[in-house]
Protein backbone atom coordinates (compact mmCIF):
# COMPACT_ATOMS: atom_id res chain seq x y z
CA UNK A 1 0.00 0.00 0.00
CA UNK A 2 2.31 2.74 -1.18
CA UNK A 3 0.98 6.25 -0.80
CA UNK A 4 3.52 7.58 -3.27
CA UNK A 5 5.14 5.66 -6.06
CA UNK A 6 8.61 4.55 -5.08
CA UNK A 7 8.12 5.58 -1.47
CA UNK A 8 7.33 3.12 1.29
CA UNK A 9 4.34 3.78 3.49
CA UNK A 10 6.59 3.99 6.54
CA UNK A 11 8.57 6.83 5.00
CA UNK A 12 5.53 9.11 4.69
CA UNK A 13 4.41 11.60 7.35
CA UNK A 14 1.34 9.42 7.81
CA UNK A 15 3.36 6.35 8.63
CA UNK A 16 6.12 8.04 10.58
CA UNK A 17 4.17 10.45 12.69
CA UNK A 18 0.40 10.31 12.68
CA UNK A 19 -0.24 6.56 12.76
CA UNK A 20 2.23 5.88 15.57
CA UNK A 21 0.60 8.69 17.55
CA UNK A 22 -2.84 7.31 16.85
CA UNK A 23 -1.77 3.84 17.86
CA UNK A 24 -0.09 5.15 20.96
CA UNK A 25 -2.87 7.49 22.22
CA UNK A 26 -5.99 6.06 20.61
CA UNK A 27 -8.84 7.71 18.70
CA UNK A 28 -9.78 9.90 21.68
CA UNK A 29 -6.49 11.73 21.27
CA UNK A 30 -7.69 13.07 17.91
CA UNK A 31 -10.95 14.27 19.47
CA UNK A 32 -9.35 15.96 22.50
CA UNK A 33 -6.63 17.61 20.41
CA UNK A 34 -9.20 18.67 17.85
CA UNK A 35 -11.52 20.19 20.51
CA UNK A 36 -8.65 22.00 22.21
CA UNK A 37 -7.41 23.27 18.84
CA UNK A 38 -10.90 24.36 17.82
CA UNK A 39 -11.42 26.25 21.12
CA UNK A 40 -8.11 28.03 20.67
CA UNK A 41 -8.84 28.70 17.01
CA UNK A 42 -12.32 30.03 17.87
CA UNK A 43 -10.86 32.52 20.37
CA UNK A 44 -8.08 33.55 17.97
CA UNK A 45 -10.49 33.82 15.05
CA UNK A 46 -13.03 35.86 17.10
CA UNK A 47 -10.29 38.18 18.26
CA UNK A 48 -8.98 38.71 14.71
CA UNK A 49 -12.50 39.30 13.40
CA UNK A 50 -13.32 41.79 16.20
CA UNK A 51 -10.21 43.77 15.21
CA UNK A 52 -11.13 43.66 11.53
CA UNK A 53 -14.82 44.27 11.87
CA UNK A 54 -15.51 46.14 15.18
CA UNK A 55 -19.16 46.31 16.26
CA UNK A 56 -20.40 43.16 14.51
CA UNK A 57 -19.92 40.68 17.39
CA UNK A 58 -22.96 38.38 16.87
CA UNK A 59 -22.20 37.62 13.25
CA UNK A 60 -18.57 37.17 14.05
CA UNK A 61 -19.35 34.50 16.73
CA UNK A 62 -21.70 32.62 14.39
CA UNK A 63 -19.26 32.68 11.51
CA UNK A 64 -16.31 31.64 13.63
CA UNK A 65 -18.30 28.81 15.34
CA UNK A 66 -19.40 27.44 11.97
CA UNK A 67 -15.86 27.57 10.64
CA UNK A 68 -14.42 25.89 13.71
CA UNK A 69 -17.06 23.10 13.62
CA UNK A 70 -16.33 22.47 9.97
CA UNK A 71 -12.60 22.37 10.66
CA UNK A 72 -12.95 19.92 13.59
CA UNK A 73 -15.27 17.66 11.58
CA UNK A 74 -12.81 17.63 8.72
CA UNK A 75 -9.91 16.84 11.02
CA UNK A 76 -11.78 13.99 12.76
CA UNK A 77 -12.85 12.52 9.44
CA UNK A 78 -9.35 12.74 8.11
CA UNK A 79 -7.93 11.15 11.24
CA UNK A 80 -10.39 8.24 11.16
CA UNK A 81 -9.83 7.56 7.48
CA UNK A 82 -6.10 7.57 8.09
CA UNK A 83 -6.50 5.09 10.90
CA UNK A 84 -8.69 2.79 8.85
CA UNK A 85 -6.23 2.99 5.96
CA UNK A 86 -3.45 2.05 8.30
CA UNK A 87 -5.33 -0.89 9.78
CA UNK A 88 -6.14 -2.20 6.33
CA UNK A 89 -2.55 -1.90 5.30
CA UNK A 90 -1.36 -3.64 8.44
CA UNK A 91 -3.83 -6.44 8.06
CA UNK A 92 -2.86 -7.05 4.46
CA UNK A 93 0.78 -7.04 5.44
CA UNK A 94 0.09 -9.59 8.17
CA UNK A 95 -1.95 -11.83 5.91
CA UNK A 96 0.67 -11.71 3.21
CA UNK A 97 3.41 -12.61 5.68
CA UNK A 98 1.35 -15.47 7.11
CA UNK A 99 0.64 -16.77 3.64
CA UNK A 100 4.30 -16.72 2.70
CA UNK A 101 5.35 -18.39 5.95
CA UNK A 102 2.45 -20.89 5.90
CA UNK A 103 1.87 -19.68 9.40
CA UNK A 104 -1.57 -18.95 10.80
CA UNK A 105 -2.53 -17.33 14.07
CA UNK A 106 -5.42 -18.03 16.37
CA UNK A 107 -7.12 -16.93 19.51
CA UNK A 108 -9.35 -18.89 21.77
CA UNK A 109 -11.76 -17.15 24.09
CA UNK A 110 -11.79 -19.82 26.77
CA UNK A 111 -14.75 -18.37 28.65
CA UNK A 112 -17.07 -18.17 25.65
CA UNK A 113 -15.34 -21.05 23.81
CA UNK A 114 -15.00 -19.09 20.61
CA UNK A 115 -12.01 -19.69 18.35
CA UNK A 116 -10.76 -17.06 15.92
CA UNK A 117 -8.45 -18.04 13.11
CA UNK A 118 -6.44 -15.97 10.68
CA UNK A 119 -7.26 -16.53 6.98
CA UNK A 120 -4.00 -18.45 6.49
CA UNK A 121 -4.98 -20.90 9.20
CA UNK A 122 -8.24 -21.58 7.35
CA UNK A 123 -6.23 -22.12 4.20
CA UNK A 124 -3.90 -24.55 5.98
CA UNK A 125 -6.85 -26.50 7.39
CA UNK A 126 -8.60 -26.36 4.02
CA UNK A 127 -11.71 -25.00 5.73
CA UNK A 128 -14.28 -22.41 4.74
CA UNK A 129 -14.38 -19.64 7.39
CA UNK A 130 -18.17 -19.48 7.01
CA UNK A 131 -18.74 -23.16 7.66
CA UNK A 132 -16.26 -23.87 10.44
CA UNK A 133 -17.97 -24.04 13.82
CA UNK A 134 -15.18 -22.10 15.46
CA UNK A 135 -14.79 -23.80 18.83
CA UNK A 136 -12.11 -25.77 20.66
CA UNK A 137 -13.97 -29.05 19.98
CA UNK A 138 -14.27 -28.21 16.28
CA UNK A 139 -10.51 -27.66 16.25
CA UNK A 140 -9.86 -30.98 18.01
CA UNK A 141 -12.06 -32.72 15.43
CA UNK A 142 -9.65 -31.66 12.70
CA UNK A 143 -6.62 -33.10 14.56
CA UNK A 144 -5.39 -36.54 13.45
CA UNK A 145 -6.89 -39.38 15.52
CA UNK A 146 -3.48 -40.50 16.75
CA UNK A 147 -2.49 -37.01 17.94
CA UNK A 148 -5.78 -35.77 19.42
CA UNK A 149 -5.35 -37.19 22.93
CA UNK A 150 -1.81 -35.82 23.24
CA UNK A 151 -2.74 -32.34 21.97
CA UNK A 152 -5.69 -32.09 24.31
CA UNK A 153 -3.57 -33.01 27.30
CA UNK A 154 -0.80 -30.54 26.35
CA UNK A 155 -3.32 -27.69 26.01
CA UNK A 156 -5.12 -28.62 29.24
CA UNK A 157 -1.81 -28.71 31.07
CA UNK A 158 -0.85 -25.31 29.60
CA UNK A 159 -4.10 -23.77 30.88
CA UNK A 160 -3.70 -25.31 34.32
CA UNK A 161 -0.03 -24.46 34.65
CA UNK A 162 -0.35 -21.10 32.82
CA UNK A 163 2.68 -21.76 30.70
CA UNK A 164 3.46 -21.54 27.00
CA UNK A 165 3.40 -24.68 24.89
CA UNK A 166 4.79 -26.00 21.64
CA UNK A 167 4.11 -29.18 19.74
CA UNK A 168 3.98 -30.90 16.38
CA UNK A 169 0.68 -32.43 15.38
CA UNK A 170 -1.06 -33.73 12.34
CA UNK A 171 -4.36 -32.50 11.00
CA UNK A 172 -6.68 -33.97 8.41
CA UNK A 173 -8.16 -31.61 5.83
CA UNK A 174 -11.74 -32.19 4.55
CA UNK A 175 -10.38 -33.89 1.42
CA UNK A 176 -8.38 -36.33 3.54
CA UNK A 177 -4.92 -34.80 3.17
CA UNK A 178 -2.76 -35.12 6.28
CA UNK A 179 -0.64 -32.08 7.11
CA UNK A 180 1.92 -31.59 9.84
CA UNK A 181 1.70 -28.39 11.90
CA UNK A 182 4.07 -26.87 14.37
CA UNK A 183 1.96 -25.13 17.01
CA UNK A 184 2.93 -22.65 19.70
CA UNK A 185 0.66 -20.91 22.16
CA UNK A 186 0.36 -19.11 25.43
CA UNK A 187 -2.31 -18.39 28.02
CA UNK A 188 -3.67 -14.90 28.72
CA UNK A 189 -4.93 -14.12 32.25
CA UNK A 190 -7.49 -11.59 33.40
CA UNK A 191 -6.94 -9.19 36.26
CA UNK A 192 -7.78 -11.87 38.77
CA UNK A 193 -5.15 -14.14 37.24
CA UNK A 194 -7.69 -16.46 35.71
CA UNK A 195 -6.96 -17.89 32.28
CA UNK A 196 -9.47 -16.34 29.91
CA UNK A 197 -7.82 -16.50 26.56
CA UNK A 198 -5.25 -18.43 24.66
CA UNK A 199 -3.40 -17.27 21.59
CA UNK A 200 -0.81 -18.71 19.36
CA UNK A 201 0.36 -19.73 15.94
CA UNK A 202 0.36 -22.84 13.82
CA UNK A 203 2.85 -23.31 11.01
CA UNK A 204 2.39 -25.80 8.21
CA UNK A 205 5.65 -27.76 8.25
CA UNK A 206 4.44 -30.65 6.09
CA UNK A 207 6.94 -29.96 3.37
CA UNK A 208 9.84 -29.50 5.77
CA UNK A 209 8.86 -32.70 7.56
CA UNK A 210 8.56 -34.52 4.26
CA UNK A 211 11.94 -33.20 3.18
CA UNK A 212 13.40 -34.24 6.52
CA UNK A 213 11.84 -37.66 6.15
CA UNK A 214 13.22 -38.02 2.62
CA UNK A 215 16.66 -36.92 3.75
CA UNK A 216 16.55 -39.33 6.68
CA UNK A 217 15.38 -42.11 4.37
CA UNK A 218 18.09 -41.33 1.85
CA UNK A 219 20.66 -41.22 4.63
CA UNK A 220 19.42 -44.53 6.06
CA UNK A 221 19.43 -46.10 2.61
CA UNK A 222 22.93 -44.81 2.00
CA UNK A 223 24.14 -46.02 5.36
CA UNK A 224 22.55 -49.40 4.74
CA UNK A 225 24.14 -49.60 1.31
CA UNK A 226 27.53 -48.60 2.70
CA UNK A 227 27.19 -51.19 5.46
CA UNK A 228 26.14 -53.85 2.96
CA UNK A 229 28.93 -53.00 0.59
CA UNK A 230 31.44 -52.93 3.44
CA UNK A 231 30.20 -56.32 4.60
CA UNK A 232 30.43 -57.63 1.04
CA UNK A 233 33.94 -56.30 0.66
CA UNK A 234 35.02 -57.67 4.03
CA UNK A 235 33.51 -61.02 3.12
CA UNK A 236 35.28 -60.92 -0.23
CA UNK A 237 38.55 -60.08 1.50
CA UNK A 238 38.02 -62.85 4.04
CA UNK A 239 37.21 -65.27 1.24
CA UNK A 240 40.31 -64.19 -0.64
CA UNK A 241 42.48 -64.62 2.45
CA UNK A 242 40.98 -68.02 3.14
CA UNK A 243 41.51 -68.97 -0.46
CA UNK A 244 45.12 -67.82 -0.42
CA UNK A 245 45.68 -69.80 2.74
CA UNK A 246 44.13 -72.92 1.19
CA UNK A 247 45.97 -72.36 -2.09
CA UNK A 248 49.29 -71.98 -0.30
CA UNK A 249 48.59 -75.10 1.72
CA UNK A 250 47.56 -77.07 -1.36
CA UNK A 251 50.67 -76.07 -3.26
CA UNK A 252 53.10 -76.49 -0.36
CA UNK A 253 52.11 -80.05 0.44
CA UNK A 254 53.13 -81.62 -2.89
CA UNK A 255 56.13 -79.28 -3.08
CA UNK A 256 57.30 -80.55 0.30
CA UNK A 257 57.20 -84.17 -0.82
CA UNK A 258 58.90 -83.30 -4.11
CA UNK A 259 61.67 -81.38 -2.36
CA UNK A 260 62.41 -84.13 0.15
CA UNK A 261 62.44 -86.81 -2.54
CA UNK A 262 64.64 -84.85 -4.91
CA UNK A 263 67.13 -83.92 -2.15
CA UNK A 264 67.18 -87.49 -0.96
CA UNK A 265 67.93 -88.74 -4.46
CA UNK A 266 70.61 -86.10 -4.86
CA UNK A 267 72.23 -86.99 -1.53
CA UNK A 268 72.07 -90.71 -2.07
CA UNK A 269 73.05 -90.80 -5.73
CA UNK A 270 71.24 -92.75 -8.40
CA UNK A 271 73.66 -95.71 -8.19
CA UNK A 272 72.87 -96.38 -4.56
CA UNK A 273 69.13 -96.43 -5.25
CA UNK A 274 67.56 -99.83 -5.66
CA UNK A 275 65.21 -100.39 -8.58
CA UNK A 276 62.26 -100.90 -6.26
CA UNK A 277 63.05 -97.74 -4.32
CA UNK A 278 63.54 -95.82 -7.55
CA UNK A 279 60.17 -96.90 -8.89
CA UNK A 280 58.45 -95.88 -5.65
CA UNK A 281 60.18 -92.50 -5.71
CA UNK A 282 59.24 -91.89 -9.34
CA UNK A 283 55.62 -92.81 -8.76
CA UNK A 284 55.47 -90.48 -5.72
CA UNK A 285 57.06 -87.66 -7.70
CA UNK A 286 54.73 -88.25 -10.67
CA UNK A 287 51.67 -88.12 -8.41
CA UNK A 288 52.80 -84.92 -6.73
CA UNK A 289 53.60 -83.27 -10.06
CA UNK A 290 50.17 -84.29 -11.33
CA UNK A 291 48.63 -82.90 -8.17
CA UNK A 292 50.44 -79.58 -8.63
CA UNK A 293 49.38 -79.42 -12.29
CA UNK A 294 45.74 -79.99 -11.27
CA UNK A 295 45.94 -77.16 -8.75
CA UNK A 296 47.42 -74.81 -11.32
CA UNK A 297 44.61 -75.75 -13.76
CA UNK A 298 42.11 -75.05 -11.07
CA UNK A 299 43.63 -71.64 -10.43
CA UNK A 300 43.42 -70.83 -14.13
CA UNK A 301 39.79 -72.01 -14.31
CA UNK A 302 38.94 -69.79 -11.39
CA UNK A 303 40.34 -66.79 -13.10
CA UNK A 304 38.82 -67.71 -16.47
CA UNK A 305 35.34 -68.31 -15.07
CA UNK A 306 35.33 -65.52 -12.53
CA UNK A 307 31.91 -63.83 -12.42
CA UNK A 308 33.04 -60.73 -14.31
CA UNK A 309 34.44 -62.78 -17.17
CA UNK A 310 31.79 -65.44 -17.48
CA UNK A 311 30.61 -65.46 -21.10
CA UNK A 312 28.15 -67.73 -22.85
CA UNK A 313 28.55 -68.30 -26.56
CA UNK A 314 25.59 -70.34 -27.67
CA UNK A 315 25.69 -72.70 -30.60
CA UNK A 316 24.00 -76.02 -31.35
CA UNK A 317 25.74 -78.52 -29.06
CA UNK A 318 25.10 -82.24 -28.50
CA UNK A 319 25.42 -82.87 -24.77
CA UNK A 320 25.96 -86.60 -25.37
CA UNK A 321 28.83 -85.71 -27.70
CA UNK A 322 30.34 -83.47 -25.01
CA UNK A 323 30.15 -86.31 -22.46
CA UNK A 324 31.78 -88.67 -24.99
CA UNK A 325 34.61 -86.20 -25.54
CA UNK A 326 35.18 -85.84 -21.82
CA UNK A 327 35.19 -89.62 -21.33
CA UNK A 328 37.85 -89.97 -23.97
CA UNK A 329 39.94 -87.20 -22.48
CA UNK A 330 39.63 -88.54 -18.93
CA UNK A 331 40.25 -92.17 -19.95
CA UNK A 332 43.58 -92.25 -18.10
CA UNK A 333 42.09 -90.77 -14.95
CA UNK A 334 39.19 -93.25 -15.12
CA UNK A 335 41.64 -96.08 -15.35
CA UNK A 336 43.73 -94.73 -12.46
CA UNK A 337 40.60 -94.46 -10.30
CA UNK A 338 39.61 -98.03 -11.20
CA UNK A 339 36.11 -96.92 -12.07
CA UNK A 340 33.77 -98.38 -14.65
CA UNK A 341 31.87 -95.50 -16.23
CA UNK A 342 28.62 -96.19 -18.10
CA UNK A 343 26.89 -93.66 -20.31
CA UNK A 344 23.16 -94.10 -20.83
CA UNK A 345 21.73 -91.99 -23.67
CA UNK A 346 19.24 -92.59 -26.48
CA UNK A 347 20.74 -90.59 -29.28
CA UNK A 348 21.92 -86.96 -29.33
CA UNK A 349 20.58 -84.35 -26.89
CA UNK A 350 20.98 -81.07 -28.73
CA UNK A 351 20.48 -77.57 -27.39
CA UNK A 352 21.86 -74.08 -27.80
CA UNK A 353 24.62 -73.92 -25.26
CA UNK A 354 28.19 -72.83 -24.81
CA UNK A 355 30.26 -75.87 -25.67
CA UNK A 356 33.25 -74.89 -23.58
CA UNK A 357 31.09 -74.32 -20.49
CA UNK A 358 29.33 -77.68 -20.85
CA UNK A 359 32.66 -79.40 -21.32
CA UNK A 360 33.86 -77.81 -18.10
CA UNK A 361 30.71 -78.84 -16.23
CA UNK A 362 30.92 -82.46 -17.34
CA UNK A 363 34.68 -82.64 -16.75
CA UNK A 364 34.31 -81.21 -13.29
CA UNK A 365 31.42 -83.44 -12.20
CA UNK A 366 33.06 -86.56 -13.62
CA UNK A 367 36.43 -85.70 -12.02
CA UNK A 368 34.60 -85.25 -8.72
CA UNK A 369 32.92 -88.64 -9.10
CA UNK A 370 36.31 -90.24 -9.86
CA UNK A 371 37.93 -88.50 -6.91
CA UNK A 372 35.30 -89.32 -4.30
CA UNK A 373 34.06 -92.62 -5.78
CA UNK A 374 37.32 -94.26 -6.77
CA UNK A 375 37.07 -98.00 -7.30
CA UNK A 376 33.27 -97.99 -7.68
CA UNK A 377 31.12 -97.82 -10.84
CA UNK A 378 29.88 -94.44 -12.09
CA UNK A 379 26.69 -93.98 -14.11
CA UNK A 380 26.04 -91.07 -16.47
CA UNK A 381 22.59 -90.47 -17.95
CA UNK A 382 21.76 -87.84 -20.56
CA UNK A 383 18.19 -87.23 -21.69
CA UNK A 384 15.88 -84.50 -23.00
CA UNK A 385 12.58 -83.97 -21.21
CA UNK A 386 10.21 -81.30 -22.57
CA UNK A 387 12.93 -78.97 -23.86
CA UNK A 388 15.07 -79.44 -20.76
CA UNK A 389 18.24 -81.48 -21.00
CA UNK A 390 19.09 -83.56 -17.95
CA UNK A 391 22.57 -84.75 -17.11
CA UNK A 392 22.79 -87.17 -14.19
CA UNK A 393 26.14 -88.31 -12.79
CA UNK A 394 25.91 -90.92 -10.09
CA UNK A 395 28.84 -92.25 -8.10
CA UNK A 396 29.01 -94.76 -5.27
CA UNK A 397 31.73 -93.07 -3.23
CA UNK A 398 31.93 -91.45 0.18
CA UNK A 399 28.81 -89.35 -0.41
CA UNK A 400 27.97 -86.02 1.16
CA UNK A 401 26.40 -85.37 4.56
CA UNK A 402 22.98 -83.74 4.43
CA UNK A 403 24.15 -80.58 6.21
CA UNK A 404 26.87 -80.11 3.56
CA UNK A 405 24.62 -80.48 0.50
CA UNK A 406 23.59 -76.84 0.48
CA UNK A 407 27.03 -75.35 0.66
CA UNK A 408 29.08 -77.51 -1.71
CA UNK A 409 28.14 -75.24 -4.61
CA UNK A 410 29.47 -72.16 -2.82
CA UNK A 411 32.92 -70.79 -3.52
CA UNK A 412 35.78 -72.39 -1.56
CA UNK A 413 33.44 -74.89 0.05
CA UNK A 414 34.12 -78.54 0.16
CA UNK A 415 32.40 -81.21 2.16
CA UNK A 416 35.44 -83.48 2.43
CA UNK A 417 38.48 -82.58 4.48
CA UNK A 418 40.80 -80.05 2.92
CA UNK A 419 43.82 -82.24 2.58
CA UNK A 420 42.31 -85.60 1.99
CA UNK A 421 41.01 -85.03 -1.49
CA UNK A 422 42.95 -82.01 -2.60
CA UNK A 423 41.58 -79.08 -4.55
CA UNK A 424 40.57 -75.56 -3.65
CA UNK A 425 36.88 -76.23 -3.35
CA UNK A 426 35.91 -74.09 -6.32
CA UNK A 427 35.01 -76.83 -8.83
CA UNK A 428 31.32 -77.14 -7.95
CA UNK A 429 31.01 -73.39 -7.55
CA UNK A 430 32.17 -72.94 -11.14
CA UNK A 431 29.81 -75.71 -12.28
CA UNK A 432 26.91 -73.86 -10.65
CA UNK A 433 27.94 -70.54 -12.18
CA UNK A 434 28.24 -72.02 -15.67
CA UNK A 435 24.94 -73.89 -15.45
CA UNK A 436 23.14 -70.81 -14.10
CA UNK A 437 24.59 -68.74 -16.92
CA UNK A 438 22.60 -71.05 -19.22
CA UNK A 439 19.43 -70.56 -17.17
CA UNK A 440 19.80 -74.05 -15.73
CA UNK A 441 20.13 -75.62 -12.30
CA UNK A 442 22.45 -78.07 -10.63
CA UNK A 443 21.60 -80.07 -7.54
CA UNK A 444 23.08 -82.88 -5.51
CA UNK A 445 21.52 -85.61 -3.46
CA UNK A 446 23.44 -87.98 -1.28
CA UNK A 447 23.96 -89.63 2.04
CA UNK A 448 27.35 -90.42 3.61
CA UNK A 449 28.90 -93.63 2.24
CA UNK A 450 26.06 -94.05 -0.25
CA UNK A 451 27.52 -92.10 -3.14
CA UNK A 452 26.33 -88.83 -4.61
CA UNK A 453 24.06 -87.99 -7.51
CA UNK A 454 24.51 -84.69 -9.33
CA UNK A 455 21.72 -83.53 -11.61
CA UNK A 456 22.19 -80.73 -14.12
CA UNK A 457 19.11 -79.38 -15.88
CA UNK A 458 19.61 -77.13 -18.90
CA UNK A 459 16.83 -75.47 -20.90
CA UNK A 460 17.53 -76.36 -24.52
CA UNK A 461 17.79 -72.62 -25.22
CA UNK A 462 16.22 -70.49 -27.97
CA UNK A 463 18.28 -69.43 -30.95
CA UNK A 464 18.48 -65.66 -30.74
CA UNK A 465 17.62 -63.68 -33.87
CA UNK A 466 21.16 -62.42 -34.32
CA UNK A 467 22.51 -65.93 -34.05
CA UNK A 468 24.28 -65.36 -30.76
CA UNK A 469 23.30 -64.47 -27.24
CA UNK A 470 24.36 -62.36 -24.36
CA UNK A 471 27.65 -60.61 -23.85
CA UNK A 472 29.89 -62.74 -25.97
CA UNK A 473 33.52 -63.39 -25.83
CA UNK A 474 34.99 -66.29 -27.74
CA UNK A 475 36.93 -68.67 -25.60
CA UNK A 476 39.37 -71.43 -26.34
CA UNK A 477 38.21 -74.89 -27.27
CA UNK A 478 37.44 -77.46 -24.59
CA UNK A 479 40.81 -78.99 -25.32
CA UNK A 480 42.21 -76.45 -22.85
CA UNK A 481 40.64 -78.31 -19.98
CA UNK A 482 42.72 -81.40 -20.51
Amino acid sequence: MDTQPGKSYHQTWLGRFLVPKLLKHGILWIGVRACASSAALTLLFAFLLSLAFPGESRQIYLASSALVSAAVTAIIFWGLSTLIEHLRWNRMQLEESQRLAHLGSWQWDIVRNVVTWSPELYRIYGLDPNRFGASYDAFLDRVHDEDRERIHSVISAAIQGVRPFEFHHRIVTPNGVVRVLHGRGQVVLDRRKRPVRMMGTAQDVTEQQEAKRLIAEARDALERRVAERTAELSAALRTRDEFLSIAAHELRTPLSTLQLQVERLAAKGIDATSKLDFERVVSIIARQVHHLADRVDELLDMSRFSPDRLQVKREPVDLVGVVDDVLVRLAASIERAHCRVELDANGPVVGHWDRSSLDHVVTNLLSNALKYGAGKPIDIRVEMRSSVARLVILDRGIGIAEQDLDRIFERFERAASVRHYGGFGVGLYLVRRLVEAHGGTVSASSAPDQGATFVVELPSGEVPTDGTTGPLRPRGSHGEHG
Partner: protein, 128 residues
Protein backbone atom coordinates in the same frame (compact mmCIF):
# COMPACT_ATOMS: atom_id res chain seq x y z
CA UNK B 1 73.94 -101.47 11.09
CA UNK B 2 75.08 -101.37 14.70
CA UNK B 3 71.71 -100.60 16.22
CA UNK B 4 69.33 -103.43 16.83
CA UNK B 5 65.66 -102.90 16.15
CA UNK B 6 64.92 -102.40 19.86
CA UNK B 7 67.20 -99.46 20.53
CA UNK B 8 66.46 -97.49 17.38
CA UNK B 9 64.61 -94.29 18.30
CA UNK B 10 61.03 -94.48 17.14
CA UNK B 11 59.19 -91.70 15.31
CA UNK B 12 55.44 -91.60 14.84
CA UNK B 13 54.51 -89.82 11.60
CA UNK B 14 50.95 -88.49 11.70
CA UNK B 15 49.86 -87.22 8.26
CA UNK B 16 46.84 -87.90 6.06
CA UNK B 17 48.81 -87.74 2.82
CA UNK B 18 50.06 -91.20 1.83
CA UNK B 19 52.96 -89.87 -0.22
CA UNK B 20 54.13 -87.58 2.57
CA UNK B 21 54.17 -90.48 5.03
CA UNK B 22 55.95 -92.73 2.54
CA UNK B 23 58.52 -90.01 1.83
CA UNK B 24 59.18 -89.41 5.54
CA UNK B 25 59.68 -93.16 6.01
CA UNK B 26 62.13 -93.23 3.12
CA UNK B 27 63.99 -90.24 4.56
CA UNK B 28 64.06 -91.21 8.24
CA UNK B 29 64.64 -94.97 8.17
CA UNK B 30 68.12 -94.76 6.56
CA UNK B 31 69.02 -92.27 9.32
CA UNK B 32 68.50 -94.96 11.93
CA UNK B 33 64.94 -94.26 13.02
CA UNK B 34 62.11 -96.69 13.28
CA UNK B 35 59.04 -95.06 11.70
CA UNK B 36 55.44 -95.76 12.59
CA UNK B 37 52.60 -94.17 10.58
CA UNK B 38 49.13 -92.88 11.38
CA UNK B 39 46.82 -91.32 8.75
CA UNK B 40 45.04 -89.06 11.25
CA UNK B 41 45.04 -87.92 14.87
CA UNK B 42 42.51 -90.51 15.97
CA UNK B 43 44.60 -93.44 14.80
CA UNK B 44 47.71 -91.89 16.36
CA UNK B 45 45.99 -91.56 19.75
CA UNK B 46 44.82 -95.15 19.45
CA UNK B 47 48.37 -96.35 18.81
CA UNK B 48 49.71 -94.36 21.75
CA UNK B 49 47.03 -95.66 24.07
CA UNK B 50 47.87 -99.17 22.99
CA UNK B 51 51.28 -98.56 24.55
CA UNK B 52 53.45 -97.14 21.81
CA UNK B 53 55.97 -94.61 23.21
CA UNK B 54 57.81 -93.01 20.29
CA UNK B 55 60.80 -90.73 20.83
CA UNK B 56 59.10 -88.09 18.65
CA UNK B 57 55.79 -87.40 17.01
CA UNK B 58 55.99 -85.68 13.61
CA UNK B 59 52.58 -84.09 13.39
CA UNK B 60 50.63 -82.69 10.44
CA UNK B 61 47.79 -80.26 11.29
CA UNK B 62 45.05 -80.36 8.69
CA UNK B 63 43.81 -83.92 8.82
CA UNK B 64 40.42 -85.62 8.77
CA UNK B 65 38.74 -87.20 11.83
CA UNK B 66 41.04 -85.74 14.52
CA UNK B 67 43.23 -82.89 13.30
CA UNK B 68 46.65 -81.89 14.62
CA UNK B 69 45.39 -79.35 17.16
CA UNK B 70 42.82 -81.77 18.57
CA UNK B 71 45.43 -84.49 18.74
CA UNK B 72 47.80 -82.25 20.68
CA UNK B 73 45.05 -81.24 23.09
CA UNK B 74 44.18 -84.85 23.84
CA UNK B 75 47.84 -85.80 24.08
CA UNK B 76 48.50 -83.09 26.68
CA UNK B 77 45.40 -84.10 28.61
CA UNK B 78 46.78 -87.61 29.04
CA UNK B 79 49.65 -87.61 31.62
CA UNK B 80 51.08 -90.79 30.15
CA UNK B 81 51.47 -89.15 26.70
CA UNK B 82 52.06 -85.50 27.53
CA UNK B 83 55.86 -85.80 27.69
CA UNK B 84 56.35 -87.26 24.21
CA UNK B 85 58.10 -84.59 22.10
CA UNK B 86 56.06 -83.24 19.20
CA UNK B 87 57.40 -81.53 16.08
CA UNK B 88 54.74 -79.98 13.89
CA UNK B 89 55.36 -80.53 10.19
CA UNK B 90 52.65 -78.79 8.21
CA UNK B 91 51.86 -76.46 5.33
CA UNK B 92 49.46 -74.60 7.57
CA UNK B 93 50.41 -70.93 7.61
CA UNK B 94 48.78 -69.47 10.74
CA UNK B 95 51.83 -69.18 13.01
CA UNK B 96 49.94 -67.82 16.03
CA UNK B 97 47.45 -70.62 16.10
CA UNK B 98 50.19 -73.16 15.65
CA UNK B 99 52.46 -71.76 18.33
CA UNK B 100 49.65 -71.85 20.85
CA UNK B 101 49.88 -75.64 20.68
CA UNK B 102 53.11 -75.67 22.68
CA UNK B 103 54.93 -78.15 20.45
CA UNK B 104 58.72 -78.58 20.61
CA UNK B 105 59.29 -77.24 17.08
CA UNK B 106 57.39 -76.04 14.04
CA UNK B 107 58.53 -77.02 10.58
CA UNK B 108 56.75 -75.49 7.62
CA UNK B 109 56.36 -77.41 4.38
CA UNK B 110 58.14 -77.35 2.01
CA UNK B 111 61.42 -77.89 3.81
CA UNK B 112 64.97 -79.03 3.02
CA UNK B 113 66.10 -82.50 3.99
CA UNK B 114 68.89 -81.23 6.29
CA UNK B 115 66.58 -78.97 8.26
CA UNK B 116 64.09 -81.78 8.74
CA UNK B 117 66.74 -84.28 9.89
CA UNK B 118 68.36 -81.69 12.16
CA UNK B 119 65.05 -80.90 13.87
CA UNK B 120 64.24 -84.58 14.25
CA UNK B 121 67.68 -85.28 15.75
CA UNK B 122 67.37 -82.38 18.20
CA UNK B 123 63.97 -83.30 19.54
CA UNK B 124 63.87 -87.07 19.50
CA UNK B 125 64.11 -88.50 22.97
CA UNK B 126 66.09 -91.71 23.30
CA UNK B 127 63.91 -92.90 26.15
CA UNK B 128 61.62 -95.64 24.92
Amino acid sequence: MANTVDDRPQILVVDDDDDTRATLCMVLEPEGYEVAEAPDGARALEMLREGMRPGLILLDLMMPVVNGWEFREQQLADPALADIPVVVFSAYADVQRTEAMGADAYLKKPLGLDTLLCAVRCHTSRRR
